[in-house]
């Protein structure tokens, strides 16, 4: 374990920035935090989570795939993939870090998504342990330990310094490049113990997942509770877009006036046109679309990924849903607790 004092943080960031694009959570004037490219003067926000999840780094909302030029009957195809500059993300929380492994299961399974893979390979994740979890946090439900997050390097914020610990090869390599001061775990251990006590008091900490999983497909799918759960859903994409694990996308063409750009962008299964075809739509009503989203996270994803759920309990949808409907309410209602 190494540490870096707050005073020296800037010079550390400077050093990282020489070889990498460095991103840190920064408070914007709307009072919320966003990952922004670090530059002199930017400080790391203490907020628990950024508004947008960290999935943006590997799976941005919009990316060009390919472009075409049409000339009479001929088409010219240009690969729009660009070299990715190595980058470091500092201060990713445990839930978001876990989301990467969930996204990996989708994008790195055959056939591999090269856009995602390129970024994943070039990105180094420095996670940051949580000290003051929020009432909306329920990552522990999914076996995540916010006091000891995953990532390439994990960090803790101490009283006057950050403690860093290499986790992966990639992380260790970076740490060795940075040559920081070695230290012991005393403060970290104390902090972990302290945080764990708070975790025990979290209102959603006791949420359990026994009623969900790949084997519960039929009974959950046919539950009559979906009707009342979904009735006030607006069908917007807020939950999807702030969710660190939602990865549905759309492929669209844009006529630029001198060619066609084909891009991929986030899509939401909550949208009415998500599965709409020229001749019909298998998910006709919001009920079906609403059900799809939660079934995906709680049933289909575990069915395909040896029981792992497609949710990391970050609580963003709890904070952001315009009508305050969210996965926790869905889980509790399906279990019959609400």
């Amino acid at each position: 374990m190494v540490k870096i004092s707050f005073e020296k943080l800037n010079s550390l960031f400077e050093k990282i920035s020489e070889k990498y694009d460095l991103f840190v959570p920064t408070k914007k004037n709307d009072g919320q935090s966003y990952f922004e490219k670090w530059e002199q003067g930017k400080t790391v926000s203490d907020d628990l989570n950024t508004v947008r999840s960290a999935k943006d780094f590997f799976f941005p909302q919009h990316e060009d795939i390919v472009s075409f030029k049409l000339d009479g009957k001929n088409i010219e195809i240009t690969d729009e993939r660009r070299e990715v500059r190595p980058f470091v993300m500092f201060g990713v929380r445990a839930c978001d870090v876990r989301s990467f492994s969930i996204l990996d299961k989708v994008f790195l399974s055959e056939p591999v998504d090269t856009f995602y893979k390129a970024k994943r390979e070039k990105g180094i994740v420095i996670s940051l342990a949580c000290q003051k979890p929020s009432e909306t946090c329920f990552c522990t439900t999914f076996g995540i330990d916010p006091t000891e997050p995953e990532g390439d390097i994990r960090a803790w914020k101490g009283n006057d310094c950050y403690y860093l610990e290499g986790v992966t090869e990639k992380g260790n390599a970076l740490l060795s490049e940075l040559s920081l001061e070695e230290c012991d775990r005393t403060e970290v251990d104390a902090q972990i113990e302290n945080t764990k006590k708070i975790l025990d008091r979290l209102p959603l900490g006791k949420l359990d997942t026994d009623s969900f999983g790949g084997d519960k497909l039929k009974e959950l799918f046919d539950s009559e509770k979906w009707a009342s759960l979904s009735e006030s859903c607006l069908g917007c994409g807020t939950c999807t877009f702030v969710c660190p694990t939602c990865q549905c996308y759309d492929i669209k063409d844009f006529e630029t006036g001198h060619g066609v750009k084909r891009y991929r962008c986030w899509d939401s299964c909550m949208y009415s046109d998500f599965t709409k075809m020229a001749h019909g739509n298998p998910r006709l009503t919001q009920l079906e679309r609403f059900r799809q989203r939660f079934m995906h996270k709680l049933v289909y994803f575990p069915a395909n990924n040896s029981g792992e759920f497609g949710c990391v309990g970050c609580g963003r949808c709890l904070n952001k849903c315009p009508i305050s409907m969210n996965i926790v309410k869905v889980m509790k209602t399906l279990k019959g607790e609400n």
């Binding site: 795939i65 390919v66 075409f68 049409l70 009957k73 001929n74 088409i75 195809i77 690969d79 993939r81 989708v106 994008f107 399974s109 056939p111 591999v112 998504d113 090269t114 856009f115 790949g214 497909l217 039929k218 799918f221 046919d222 990865q247 549905c248 996308y249 759309d250 492929i251 063409d253 006529e255 066609v260 084909r262 991929r264 899509d267 299964c269 998500f274 599965t275 709409k276 075809m277 020229a278 001749h279 739509n281 298998p282 998910r283 079906e288 799809q292 079934m295 995906h296 049933v299 289909y300 994803f301 069915a303 395909n304």
Partner: protein, 275 residues
């Protein structure tokens, strides 16, 4: 850079055949005149006209065709409209092959096969039919029940009459929905016709057509004593990526584009009824 599945290849339309008033069959090769890629019967490909759209179509030609691929496409939307207006020589973009395809070399091997198709539903089956015809010795009897609204709506009529009907060991049963002048074949809906024909249950069934036809034919087949494990079908849902990632073509935990489009009917029973 490594190949990216979402980036398509070029194809050239070298022949366009008008099958029915709303179905055309397009022959596609790579610009160098070779096949764009190899496939197994029942697999699909994403065809696209940039700026117009991209959609999944089943490959109707058999993999045994070493020169080109064919797509029988029914006019039903913006992209298909555009495709129908194409002329020979037009380039399109193509990527694939996608999906699991029919188990022609495993489950179907040595079996008696019964193909049941309605309307444009023949398109994905044609690939299998011609494949098993090519490797005729590896399979048992072949029965084909094919029906359409009218005589004019029978896809591949020429090939059916000139090749399939005359081939030994291949029994073709054609039907149309309503009486029509110049038609002396069977008249009636496919499900009823299947029951009328009363097949032995020692067959593996491959079925494709409008959902309503499939529903009633399955009922008819089970009356005849067929088990759902004997019946294969191919599904169609909205697809974007073709590789099971974009998240829209799932039925339960299965992605039609990756885990399908071919399903055994008993497998479908395990999935939620959302298709």
């Amino acid at each position: 850079m490594i190949e990216e599945v979402l980036i398509p290849k070029l194809g050239v339309v070298t022949d366009i055949r008008i099958d029915t008033p709303d179905v055309k069959t397009f022959r596609v090769v790579a610009p160098d005149g070779k096949k764009v890629f190899e496939h197994i019967p029942g697999q699909c490909a994403m065809l696209s006209i940039p700026g117009v759209g991209e959609a999944m179509f089943s490959i109707t030609s058999s993999p045994t065709n070493t020169e080109f691929m064919e797509f029988s496409i029914k006019k039903c939307g913006c992209l298909t409209d555009w495709l129908h207006h194409m002329e020979v020589g037009q380039q399109v973009t193509i990527r694939g092959p996608y999906g699991n395809g029919f188990p022609v070399d495993t489950v179907f091997k040595g079996k008696n096969l019964l193909f049941i198709a309605g309307g444009i539903g023949l398109a994905p089956l044609r690939s299998v039919i011609n494949y098993v015809r090519h490797y005729r010795d590896s399979y048992g009897t072949i029965d084909i029940v094919y029906g359409s609204r009218s005589m004019d709506d029978l896809v591949d009529y020429k090939e059916i009459i000139n090749e399939w009907c005359v081939e030994e060991g291949v029994n073709v049963h054609l039907t149309i929905d309503r009486e029509q002048e110049g038609w002396d074949g069977h008249v009636g809906f496919v499900p009823n016709y299947v029951k009328e024909l009363g097949f032995d249950t020692n067959k593996t069934v491959i079925i494709c057509g409008p959902p309503i036809m499939i529903k009633f034919t399955l009922a008819g087949l089970s009356e005849l004593g067929f088990d759902k494990t004997q019946v294969f079908t191919t599904m169609e849902l909205k697809m974007k990526c073709g590789v099971g990632k974009c998240g829209r073509c799932n039925i339960g935990s299965k992605y039609v584009c990756k885990d399908g489009p071919v399903f055994r009917c008993d497998e479908l029973d395990e999935l939620p009824n959302e298709y």
